[in-house]
Subunit: 454 residues, 2 copies
């Protein structure tokens, strides 16, 4: 079944069931569909109606469907649910999704909710809430399957069966000692293939790839992607197992980080929600701050031009090619920055490669600059009065493209080595910096050429 | 163990083992480490040395490690391997990775290789090679676990155990009839939790979310991410199961597509390999074509300015603010385009929202334009002779920002509705289009203002 079609087919049915308050049909709706599909349809109803639907299904299904609703919708929805029902829902939710929700709810609502939860759940939530944002701890779940090393595969499968209902995944099982130190790892596949009387310590892999609880979430996601894991164990600084991060949360992080980098490069401060879920004012602020910074940089360019203008000479024909010259440098710079920021984000390159990259970009700049300069000279001759003027345009394009590639490549690397996110160096900002330097080049080359000709 | 540290520690050891031709140690190296870690260390050796290491381990481990090497390295490495050994390696590789490799190898080498493979493998490869690039078929594997509906869970677990060694995943098992029609789906977790004498048809979910073999790979990856699947079944147009796509390949697609969109927006034609693996000439071409297109657009701007310049008047002070005025519009346009292209890629918005988005961006443009115009007027008065000139700069900034937001938002939507990738409308191209229109606005506003004052 193609999921995108389901929505438009199911929504009218659902509205009718709600109107008729048809309990059994609503229960059937919740339980027959994949929770992700049910959530998609419910997302088109208001929160009161959605809760009315969800009251007809068991707490487990309720929590599953709830977990597939977008986070801003979840935050709205909890306002429609009263105390005891909300407590039950929160207790049923996976540990990591629960914490994401609580982080977005109003502090007062969270303070009112926490005392109602069971002690163990409350401790788990407090613990997970304490990890810094964007750390492995903030995206992990504490609901992993674990076993001691001494038991046989037969016993292990028995125990896994008992743990299964409350664990995020049982396909990877971690072997720990009494102090929760991570000693090994067994996949359910290996257990199923092994002889029932094999001891886990014979079967397990002892060379476990893990991440630290304070590692960056992007690093965690890249490790999972690199090794094709379903989950990765998270340990504290004494190598004690504290949680796991699963492949689906890692995929969310990859999408989120790529989206943020893209937004930064497009000169938008990263959004928390989707484009249409973000309010106009928030969006205006996240765009406005960057536009003001860029306006400041552009004003610097205007200021530099004012010097040359006040000296008179050359302005008329030079103004024609001002946007062309600056755009060439800015565009080449954006290209370099895009490539370098990606290479850094995907760990394809390290800061140590800085000299190699700089050389590469200088060669690239010369190659591209020479090509564009020839084209610029050829076309400029159509519009200018004298041939030397076209040569000024061409030589400036050549130099400004080299300038753009080097600045565009080096600034993100410089940011990275200062510990700042390289994607912060947005493409428009690089273009703006190249503008200021480009104008100085342009007018100086023109002055020298004019002096040589006259 | 932290994987990034492993490399620098293991590489010297490995070189020494190679020098001493220490067979048992090399075998130990291959088999004790996670294949991903072994591949990372081997990637720093030349291909002959890598093959020398790999000859010391069994064909299964060999294929596993090989699969974790970067694709361009794999293509080089197969040249170091002679016929029978290569055949065995190719036969051991997972079906999807094998096809990725064959697609990148030289056609002559593939033609020489295919007749050496077993008949079944050859048919499988031919079949997978026939699916169009970027389709579900091109990223799926045919090695899925499937069972008939009539058997019990006990029997099912027995059969899964037998299928396990050759299947990409056994955690999701698909239920099919004799004609391979997809009838249902059972997770290994559900089987383990169920009573042994339960029939699969009672246990299985019949409302299976699947994709079509000709669906776009990005759609497939987004479905897997949306529903948190480990794998998704791929069916043909008669609902016959032809393969599965697993979560790890979906994650690769997500990263690949985000990277490509980002490159397009930075005005680089998408690269096939990583930045440092791409040759300087390929890179120059992928950047050069865009720079030439953008130069053409910039020349149009120069041409438009030449009209106003030839009419004389206002040029001196106007040139000062030319880059500022154009950058304001271009930057606002880049922001809108970035946000809309993302929203379209992540399916957050559909073309049907076009009117809503257009209105939203016009409001956004007015808001941002008004703010920037005030700042521009305030700062411009410092550099210009007359107050009305600052007003010209301000009003142009206001209009050009609105123009930028609307053009930046509408062009990707327009592209999408024409069936063209919206990310093709790169940010610099939007900036270039806004430049041409911005110059016309700027000079006309100035002309009107000048006429009004004098």
């Amino acid at each position: 079944m193609v999921s995108s079609m389901i929505n438009s087919l199911l929504l009218p049915d659902l509205r009718q069931m709600l109107e008729e308050d048809d309990g059994p049909a609503l229960k059937e709706f919740c339980e027959a569909l994949h929770p992700g599909v049910a959530a998609e349809v419910l997302g088109d109803l208001n929160t009161d109606a959605t809760w009315q639907v969800l009251t007809h299904c068991g707490p487990e299904t309720q929590a599953e469907i709830f977990g597939f609703l977008p986070l801003p919708y979840q935050v709205q929805l909890v306002k429609s649910i009263d105390g005891p029902q909300l407590t039950r829902l929160i207790e049923e939710m996976p540990a990591d999704d629960r914490v994401d929700l609580l982080e977005r709810m109003e502090p007062d609502a969270v303070d009112a909710l926490l005392p109602l939860l069971a002690h163990a759940e409350r401790r788990d939530i407090r613990k997970l809430l304490s990890y810094p944002e964007y750390s492995a701890g903030s995206i992990m779940t504490t609901e992993y399957a674990s076993l001691p090393a001494e038991i046989t595969v037969k016993e292990a499968l028995e125990r896994v069966r008992k743990q299964a209902p409350s664990r995020e995944t049982i396909y990877y099982v971690y072997v720990t000692d009494e102090e929760r130190h991570l000693r090994g790892f067994v996949s359910l596949r290996d257990m199923i293939l092994a002889k029932p009387d094999t001891k886990l310590e014979q079967l397990m892999e002892t060379d476990v790839i893990s991440v630290r609880v304070d590692d960056d979430q992007e690093h965690v996601a890249l490790e999972i992607a690199k090794y094709d894991f379903i989950a990765i164990p998270v340990v504290d600084n004494q190598n004690r197992l504290v949680g796991i991060v699963t492949h689906d949360d890692a995929a969310d992080v990859l999408v989120e980080e790529a989206t943020e980098d893209q937004q930064r490069q497009g000169a938008v401060a990263p959004l928390e929600d989707s484009y249409l879920d973000t309010s106009l004012l928030t969006l205006a602020w996240k765009r406005g701050i960057w536009l003001v910074i860029l306006l400041g940089a552009a004003f610097l360019t205007a200021y530099v031009i004012s010097f040359f203008v006040s000296e008179g000479g050359g302005v008329t024909w030079m103004a024609m090619f001002l946007p062309l010259v600056l755009a060439s440098g800015g565009n080449a710079g954006s290209q370099s920055a895009t490539l370098i920021i990606q290479a850094l984000a995907l760990r394809e390159t390290a800061q140590g490669d800085a000299r190699r990259i700089c050389l590469r970009e200088m060669m690239m700049g010369s190659l591209l600059g020479a090509g564009l300069a020839c084209l610029a000279i050829l076309t400029a001759t159509v519009l200018v009065e004298f041939y030397w003027q076209a040569m000024v345009v061409g030589s400036t394009v050549f130099l400004v493209v080299i300038l753009g590639t080097v600045v565009g490549a080096m600034l993100p690397i410089g940011f990275k080595s200062l510990g700042v996110d390289p994607a912060l160096m947005s493409n428009p900002l690089i273009a703006a910096l190249v503008d200021v330097l480009g104008v100085i080049l342009y007018y100086n080359i023109a002055r020298i050429a004019e002096a040589a000709v006259t």
